[in-house]
Symmetry: C2
Subunit: 476 residues, 2 copies
């Protein structure tokens, strides 16, 4: 596995000079990195690609090749694999499609390639995959992906396009990744192998996976039960309906299986199952930064009543409890809030926002509160227009708003210090001034992501609570 | 109602020169518009605000005042309302909070204000609200909102902060609004009144509403049943759980009622009920632009298999059917796609994207298909890196990618022409190159929003189908 994720030399069989071709994108990514690892393009029709000398075959390369990336047409793959064996290659990524997923003939070809690799001591990713990456090693074979920041989240994807989405969305959310692999048909290396590898990878703090079918459920269960005690595993499992399962079969020849059985299995081994693409990242970032909740009692703080109602609904529907606030907590909040505040949970700040940090600190400290949910609590709104046509006084006010926003960012450190001291999570949603406010940028950087909607924040909190309960139930 | 949404003159009672105060934001918004409507600040402590001369009281204003915006403290509101009557004001927006929502004393004060207004022939919004706007009249009293574009969607919100969110999110999605009102405690004008008004408003094509409680369910039902035949009504109703209902009561003194009863009522009068904040806009924009589906049979087109599986699951769970493709349709698709394509529905383009427009057209035309769902079908990915350190050939490739993206944008017109010709909706999700690609920008502008996730797109399609079925059931 180390040869695949951290090779000292790479060859691209089927490298191409034609933009738009996969063999171009992958080669361009590999040579675009900032390291000295040799990358050899194999192509018998042109002399050079992007200024790099090509080799007609793998065997013509003078130096050793640890990892082979195979992008050449399906009919060439068996002979390429034979070359890999002859060359002493250790690992391969077979991007090429047209194997088990296209029927019996493809299945037979796939079996042949597996046998050759086994005999030659080669382990491989794919076929029918979209590549992989390791940000720490500056290695990137996933053609479409650019500028993925280094970070603590790993992703195993049984779908290339879902994987691509995941990375795209991650980049949008400013999330960093450790490793990624598009597993394809899993002819040789399987979901379970990657899981085992990532469990021991120090760069990875949270493992996420998009799964269509689990080929070895027994092994998956045993592995996951061990891993989740120390490292959270977040899974999006599709093929939940019989129609979806059929689609999964034609996609990666994966048997989707009974959804209810998967649900029970994931629950029993502490795997966090999500229902939607975005939810996978919402919870993954929270698992990196947030303390583990000790119970289900939530204090809701909101800039306005509407989100208080929406969040209460969402909490109750997901099995969370609305915490009872003690008289002492109410009294402390009285000091921060105007007389019209709700005097209960949800704590409706009634349109004020300048005391939200004090309120958040009070609720984090409060007895009987296991977690805080804050909406419209960060990201001071600018209440003044800007632009060339506004009067001087308004422009001054805009400067003042900017000053207020900068001041707010200074409060973030104190808030996060409180989170640490009281060892309780705080999940935030909706910054009225948008995610460009300095405070929100700081919170996002520290892993306290400000979710766009209350519903997304509540889902995250519910996952945190359930995972905490699971860990307690297995004595961790 | 016209005096409220389209007044010829406005006074702000409680206007302030202090940035951060509501009386400042509202006044700044009102004078910031590009029209000649007189706006009078009423404040008895300073001489001028933002360079505009103040008046100690409403009665000191020389000209007529059609609309009064009241932001002064709650104890002053009765006497201000009395001044409004004396001045001959026609409508008012009472932003000030501290009435029915704070208990018996507030309730009595609210009743007194209503009686005075009734006797003086004044209708008013609020109290305890966040203002309103009318983009066509360049009128904006919702303090926090800036640069709201004009458009076909109106929003009635029983929560100021939910309303603020709605506008913020709309702006992020590039959605234009016609009118907005934060209804507050609804002491005088109620949800039902705004609904009736917007039904007749030519600027409004879709009415959205955030509702905590319906004060006159009979009238709401009768109105909605009529309106939805010609103009879609999208509702987010909170207070679904008993805890949420309790929170709603303390927020706007609204009785949330039984959730199942609301569900049944909305269904019977053709109201589209959404479960989350974002869903409200997702469906609102689609209702403006998309043709009405004639059935539930969906063709799924996807750049990769993973999204095909996820979308199939989502469709089946929401009661949509996966269309059976005819041999002729399969044959036409064979011309566009490589041999490895799925040869069925979902149509997995297997990593190709350059023929997606041809495929979308084919599926729109296909017999047995009522709607098309397309994922990774628009927004050509750039497969080449950019930046100062890339070799010349790579830079050329980047230029080529830009050229391809521009070419793609030209295909959008043909696609939308096909949508019109075949009179079937096409709902799109996930543009691999991001929403900045010229094609995606064009699609968004035309109201064919490219949703970030397959799940969001499927939810929209399910709403469109159900609304179409409702209309057919009532003979429209």
């Amino acid at each position: 596995m180390e040869s695949i994720f951290n090779p000292s030399s790479v060859a691209v069989i089927g490298a191409s000079g034609a933009p738009g071709k996969w063999g171009f994108g992958i080669f361009a990514r590999l040579i675009g990195g900032g390291n000295d690892r040799p990358v050899y393009p194999v192509n018998n029709r042109v002399d050079q690609i992007l200024g790099v000398r090509t080799y007609p075959s793998l065997l013509d390369i003078p130096g050793p090749v640890e990892l082979a990336i195979i992008v050449s047409p399906p009919e060439t793959v068996p002979s390429v694999m034979s070359d890999c064996v002859a060359k002493g290659v250790k690992g391969a990524v077979v991007v090429t499609a047209g194997f088990a997923e296209v029927g019996e003939k493809g299945k037979a070809a796939e079996r042949r390639v597996v046998e050759m690799a086994r005999e030659g001591g080669i382990r491989f990713v794919g076929p029918n995959c979209m590549g992989h990456f390791n940000t720490a090693a500056d290695l990137m074979t996933a053609g479409e992906m650019t500028g993925v920041p280094r970070g603590p989240i790993a992703c195993i994807s049984q779908s290339g396009n879902f994987g691509g989405y995941v990375i795209w969305r991650g980049a949008q959310m400013g999330i960093g990744f450790s490793k990624f692999v598009s597993t394809g048909n899993e002819a040789d290396l399987k979901l379970e192998d990657y899981l085992e590898y990532l469990a021991q990878d120090d760069e990875t703090k949270v493992i996420t996976a998009y799964i269509e079918g689990i080929r070895d459920p027994r092994r998956f269960f045993a592995l996951a039960r061990d891993i989740t005690k120390a490292k959270p595993v977040v899974v999006m499992k599709s093929g939940r309906t019989s129609e979806g399962a059929r689609a999964a079969w034609s996609h990666t020849a994966a048997l989707a299986g009974e959804d209810a059985i998967h649900d029970a299995m994931f629950r029993q081994c502490g795997v966090i199952r999500v229902g939607e693409a975005d939810e996978m990242f919402d919870i993954a970032v929270a698992l990196v930064a947030q303390p583990r909740p000790r119970g289900r009692r939530v204090a809701i703080l909101t800039g306005g009543g509407g989100f208080g109602v929406v969040a209460t609904d969402a909490c109750v529907r997901l099995g969370l409890e609305i915490a009872e606030l003690s008289p002492e907590t109410i009294e402390t909040l009285n000091k921060y809030l105007p007389p019209r505040w709700s005097h209960g949970n949800p704590v409706d700040m009634a349109g004020t926002s300048n005391t939200s940090y004090g309120c958040m600190g009070t609720l984090l400290k409060a007895e009987g509160v296991d977690a805080v949910l804050g909406m419209s609590c960060v990201g001071s709104p600018s209440t003044v227009p800007s632009g060339p046509d506004v009067p001087d006084a308004v422009r001054k006010a805009a400067e003042y708003a900017e000053y207020v926003a900068d001041e707010e960012a200074k409060l973030v450190d104190g808030l996060l210090e409180r989170v640490k001291r009281h060892d309780k999570p705080i999940v935030l949603a909706y910054a009225p001034a948008g995610n460009e406010s300095p405070a929100v940028r700081k919170l996002n950087q520290r892993g306290f992501f400000v979710y766009p909607t209350p519903e997304r924040a509540v889902r995250v909190l519910a996952h945190l609570v359930r995972y905490g309960e699971y860990l307690a139930s297995v004595g961790v």
